[in-house]
């Protein structure tokens, strides 16, 4: 057999394997696509409902969403999702997902719930890579620190109070970790400022398809 024929056969064989392999993946994808979307949705709703309890609103909060960009106040130059909660068409609260760009190990993604009157419904950490055992007390599973933001606003405390205690503010730091809480306090404060500046626009802008950016950021390591 000639060299060319052999190579052709090899190529054909490899192509066949690629086809069969892709076929398998396509089959499984088709079979799981719906479930995956449902799982993603459930996960996002769980995070949303942590800061905006479902009984407060009666709109489809997941699909009443826009994306906004503000590198200074939202901690990232990428679009940030905003989910709006309304009751009988009237704005109730919104959830925004800013970053605290200055965490101890890279940015920390938050979800911040803000009532229409500018008070916080709550804050949760979506993703972070802070030191386990020290900085991870920001997770609601590990300590109740994150609940300390509830009902706070730009006037409670005033500007100077929006710091950790070590810097003269009202928020606790943790033993052995000041940088992490400092980053989060700063980011929440900025999110509130952003809300105050843009409130009416945030609620009136027509909704766009939610982007899936609420979940885990891809980490390549």
């Amino acid at each position: 057999m000639s060299m060319g024929g052999q190579m052709g056969r090899s190529a054909l064989m490899l192509g066949l394997f690629a086809l069969v392999g892709t076929g398998l993946v396509v089959l499984i994808y088709a079979g799981t696509e719906e479930r995956i979307q449902e799982a993603e949705r459930t996960y996002m709703l769980k995070s949303l409902h942590a800061v905006i309890p479902p009984k407060r609103h009666n709109n489809d909060i997941f699909n009443d969403a826009i994306t906004v960009v503000d590198p200074v106040l939202l901690g990232t130059d990428k679009p940030v999702s905003v989910f709006r909660a309304r009751r009988d068409g009237k704005p109730v609260a919104l959830a925004i997902t800013p970053f605290a760009p200055n965490g101890y190990v890279g940015p920390i993604k938050l979800i911040v719930g803000i009532r229409f009157d500018g008070t916080l419904t709550g804050v949760r950490v979506l993703t972070h890579r802070e030191t386990p055992g020290l900085g991870d007390a920001i997770e609601e599973k590990r300590s109740d620190w994150i609940f300390g933001f509830e009902s706070r606003s730009l006037t409670n405390p005033k500007q100077k109070g929006w710091r950790v205690r070590r810097d003269g503010g009202v928020f606790d730091q943790f033993t052995g970790a000041t940088i992490t809480p400092r980053a989060i306090v700063g980011a929440v404060h900025k999110a509130l400022k952003y809300f105050e500046k843009n409130r009416d626009r945030l609620f009136s802008e027509p909704s766009t398809t939610p982007d899936m950016g609420l979940g885990m950021e891809e980490e390549h390591g």
């Binding site: 090899s10 064989m13 490899l14 394997f17 690629a18 069969v20 392999g21 892709t22 398998l24 993946v25 499984i28 994808y29 799981t32 479930r35 995956i36 799982a39 993603e40 459930t42 996960y43 030191t131 386990p132 055992g133 020290l134 979940g215 885990m216 891809e218 980490e219 390549h220 390591g221």
Partner: protein, 234 residues
């Protein structure tokens, strides 16, 4: 079970254990062994991929030309990993989020291509499947042992976040061994994984040595007995 099957299982679980003897696939092993549940999740995913790829490679072993071996094996493995990733995303979404990048990275786990190349490409389907399962089980066992070690020392718990794998009703599986434990940072961080693995390897070597000594003693006793009786009855 015949001797060949017993031998394959023994190789996978103990004698050629991927993590303790071959020292292959250490990247995911060290990165994901922070808790038992994470370890179990990655171990099962790896085992499934290995069993699937071993069977497929064994099926096509006579069709593939030698120079096409590696590319076609990689194709097979990548397909299985993608399939497992999709399935995890659909059925164990929370665990999928925790394991993150380490699921697609199973492709690069050299254990899998090593078994395809050194075993499945030379053996029939049945033994190849068994080899994949046994090697995977051995890998999973070490992962879980290391996960348990690190979780107990690091967090004072066992099976924390069991609901990630077994659903919301499974929180009761979590055992808190030490109340109000402040945690031991070294065990959670990567160096703790290396130290833990080192200890497990040392433990295996000690056990092997003890066994060999015991076998030696038995052997020399038998020899001594044989020499004492110059005319053994036949």
């Amino acid at each position: 079970m015949n001797k060949e099957q017993r031998d394959i299982i023994h190789q996978g679980l103990w004698q050629s254990n991927t993590a303790l003897v071959q020292l292959l696939g250490l990247c995911p092993l060290l990165a994901v062994s922070g808790t038992v549940i994470n370890a179990l999740g990655l171990g099962i995913a790896t085992t499934l991929v290995m069993a699937g790829s071993n069977v497929t490679v064994s099926l096509i072993r006579n069709l593939v030309r030698p120079e096409l071996r590696i590319p076609s094996f990689v194709l097979v493995i990548a397909s299985f990993v993608t399939a497992v990733e999709l399935l995890m995303q659909a059925f164990l979404y929370d665990l999928y989020l925790v394991l993150g990048i380490f699921i697609p990275l199973i492709v690069t786990n050299c254990v899998i291509i090593a078994r395809a190349e050194s075993f499945a490409s030379k053996n029939k389907v049945g033994p190849s499947l068994l080899d994949g399962l046994a090697m995977g089980a051995g890998f999973t066992a070490v992962l879980v042992a290391l996960g348990a070690l690190r979780e107990i020392l690091g967090h004072g718990t066992l099976l924390a976040q069991a609901e990630l794998m077994f659903g919301d009703g499974a929180q009761w599986l979590t055992i808190t061994l030490l109340e109000d434990y402040r945690g031991y940072l070294l065990a959670i961080l990567p160096p703790g994984a290396f130290l833990g693995l080192g200890l497990l390897i040392a433990l295996k070597n000690v056990i092997d040595k003890r066994r060999a000594q015991a076998a030696n003693v038995r052997m020399s006793k038998a020899v001594a007995q044989a020499t004492l009786e110059p005319n053994p009855t036949r």
